[in-house]
């Protein structure tokens, strides 16, 4: 019995080793090419920003003063700009698509690392991507994550500037724009930068009397994440009997509950409330841009790194600010939630000025990144490779599988509501804001989209659902 088990273990090890060798082959090839005078392997620095709305940026049509000048400049100087990039699973970042690659890169001499920043929210649970990449991280408590930008920025800086003989691959995921929007951890925070005194007073008033302003629940959870606002709501007081940590944590999820959002919307002062949320978000974006992104894009002033580092920037998803009565993300398939700003800046001797107009799913940006890391994408073939990394069909779904659908060729958006079975079809060329449902008048197209959904479903189903429901 024991020998049988040993044989099984040995066979499994052989298979795993063979698999790794086969998979690592393309990386080894890249290194060999470099050694033989082929393309030189650059450093790769991936910056992922959580909850970034594209309409903050003039690159994507924002009008008025720039909130994020460093990011605007990066986009202006980028070699590859994605004009229409999307994440069909709007709670997962590019890291999920890149990180599985890291152990092999490390084995091949790349220094691969992924410092996470859980910013300002002790109740955000550890993310499984981190646990997968660094198993020891599962032992960390939430409180052990860095929450102040200075220590986080210093950590990233040190890792980038570390003297080394091999190229590095570094991925950072910055959750600064993820709610709660009130930054309690950085004394120089700017979440209230754009707020007037009367708006600050309004927040103070809601905070002081949560039971009086219980209809403001989504807004106050968005700003603070504090379950006290949920517990002040009469319906929740009746429903929630337990007060343990898990229950309190789950209450923060009520930020996107449809019934409470409707209640907030119907409450006096709603329009002003929404402006406060938007301004707090913009204030954080400004801070993020100045304190973190600007030095990262500048590669901390290191000229050598500027010559041999590829910088990949990608949002992970957008954020709903009550468009179509939705707040935050992971609950929506509309473009405000799934479209992401994205660009790649290559060293100056690589091709530049490439604009990708085709709809590009986030995993194709990851594919490009992996190609650079593996050596299969280099300056000689970049322009050719990049145009092939788009997809006619991008599968979309929300966290709970209550909405599913797809985006087709920048031409159609198709969504199905699980509970009602209602179908939505938007002609994105005629109706880019997704306001006119033509599913009935163009039922044939809707049927074609439905069939496309089921034939393309495997597009993402290899990705773990994390805390969301499985595929």
């Amino acid at each position: 019995m024991k020998r049988g088990r040993e044989k099984c273990v040995a066979a499994a090890l052989v298979l795993i080793t063979l698999g790794c060798l086969l998979y690592a082959g393309k990386i080894t090839l890249g290194l060999s090419q470099a050694a033989a005078g082929g393309p030189i392997r650059p450093n790769v620095f991936v910056i992922s920003v959580c909850s970034l709305r594209k309409d903050l940026l003039s690159t994507y049509g924002h009008k008025g003063g720039s909130v994020m000048p460093a990011l605007e400049q990066f986009f202006g100087q980028s070699s590859v700009l994605y004009e229409r990039a999307f994440n069909g699973v709007p709670w997962i970042s590019i890291i999920s698509f890149i990180e599985p690659y890291f152990p092999l890169l490390t084995a091949q001499g790349y220094l691969a690392a992924s410092p996470y920043w859980e910013y300002a929210y002790t109740r955000i649970p550890l993310q499984r991507t981190l646990q997968t990449a660094r198993p020891e991280a599962s032992e960390l408590n939430d409180s052990e994550f860095e929450k102040d930008y200075k220590s986080y920025a210093e950590d990233v800086k040190q890792q980038i500037l570390l003297p080394r003989s091999a190229p590095f691959a570094l991925v950072v995921h910055i959750k600064y724009l993820h709610y709660p929007l009130i930054d309690q951890f950085n004394s120089d925070s700017e979440w209230d930068h754009f707020l007037s005194q009367s708006e600050r007073d309004q927040i103070a008033e809601y905070s002081k009397h949560p039971e009086k302003y219980f209809s403001k629940l989504p807004m106050m959870l968005m700003l603070t994440g504090d379950p006290k606002y949920a517990l002040a709501h009469p319906e929740i007081q009746r429903t929630v009997k337990k007060r343990d940590a898990a229950t309190l944590r789950s209450l923060s999820g009520l930020v996107s509950n449809e019934r409470y959002l409707q209640e907030w919307k119907a409450s006096p002062g709603y329009a002003g409330d929404l402006e406060i949320v938007k301004k707090a978000y913009a204030g954080n974006a400004r801070y993020l841009d100045q304190k973190l992104l600007e030095p990262m894009f500048n590669l901390y002033g290191n000229d050598e790194l500027k010559r041999n580092t590829v910088v990949v920037f990608a949002g992970d998803h957008g954020e709903m600010h009550m468009e179509r009565d939705q707040l935050t993300h992971a609950t929506s398939g509309y473009d405000e939630a799934v479209e992401i700003p994205a660009a790649v800046k290559f060293p100056s001797d690589w091709p530049s000025g490439i604009r990708v107009k085709g709809q590009t799913p986030i995993h194709r940006i990851a594919d490009l990144t992996e190609g650079v890391l593996a050596g299969s994408v280099h300056r000689e073939n970049l322009a050719e490779k990049i145009q092939s990394l788009t997809d006619d069909v991008i599968i979309l779904r929300d966290c709970r599988n209550t909405v599913r659908g797809l985006r087709f060729k920048n031409k159609y958006k198709y969504l199905v509501d699980t509970a009602s079975g209602e179908r939505q079809l938007f002609d994105l060329e005629q109706d880019p804001d997704e306001l006119v449902n033509v599913a009935l008048s163009r039922s044939e197209t809707a049927d074609e989209m439905e069939a496309l959904y089921w034939t393309h479903l495997p597009q993402f189903n290899w990705i773990p659902p994390y805390r969301c429901l499985p595929w």
Binding site: W91, Y121, R123, I124, P125, H178, Y179, I236, T239, V240, A246, R249, S250, L251, S252, G253, L254, V255, S256, N257, E258, T328, H329, A330, T331, D398, C399, R400, N401, T402, R404, D417, T418, A419, S420, G421, L440, S443, E444, A446, D447, E448, E450, A451, W454, T455, L457, Y466, R467, C468, L469, W471
Partner: protein
Amino acid sequence: MGFLLISAWGEGLPLTGWEINKKWNMHEVAEAPRVASVTGFQATYANDQFEVALKGTVLPDSATAKQKASIELTNIQNLYKPHSNPYVGQVSDLIQCAPDLVPKTSFIQPAILAGVKTTLLVGGATGRKMFGACARDQIAYWGGYFQFFSEPQKMAVEVRIFHKKNTLNLQQARGKIKTLSEQLFTKAGGVP
């Protein structure tokens, strides 16, 4: 093409070779969407007890249809489950189904599908006929849901049946909806 098929709809369901069994005395709901094309159809029927919403989609093969039926049934079942550990930022509804309101599933064998069984789910639905209703005051209908695939026409058909809650409990509604589901369709008079 869609208009052509609508005009040729007659009493049968387009592209299926079936029609609604006359024993149920159902009429088409005029105000509900009624569309048809070579890629699918949509129609709603009702009698004094039930409302039946049908949606057909042409799919490439039975494996795809099987996957669709399985995933969609699971997704509807999940609407009734509590979400005690949601992704932060995701909907967290505190309502939890009482044991007598937890949706029930059972195998059915529609008369038109010789020897083929499919799964029927029966659970609470809101006044807007949305599955996932768990609280007693939220449930306005008992809803039945099943799918099946017609191989010759490559047509995956989704069926949503609603019965006014009235004084029925879930168990009683389940029996009525099951009977209707199994005898809903008959072979159409003509070849489609």
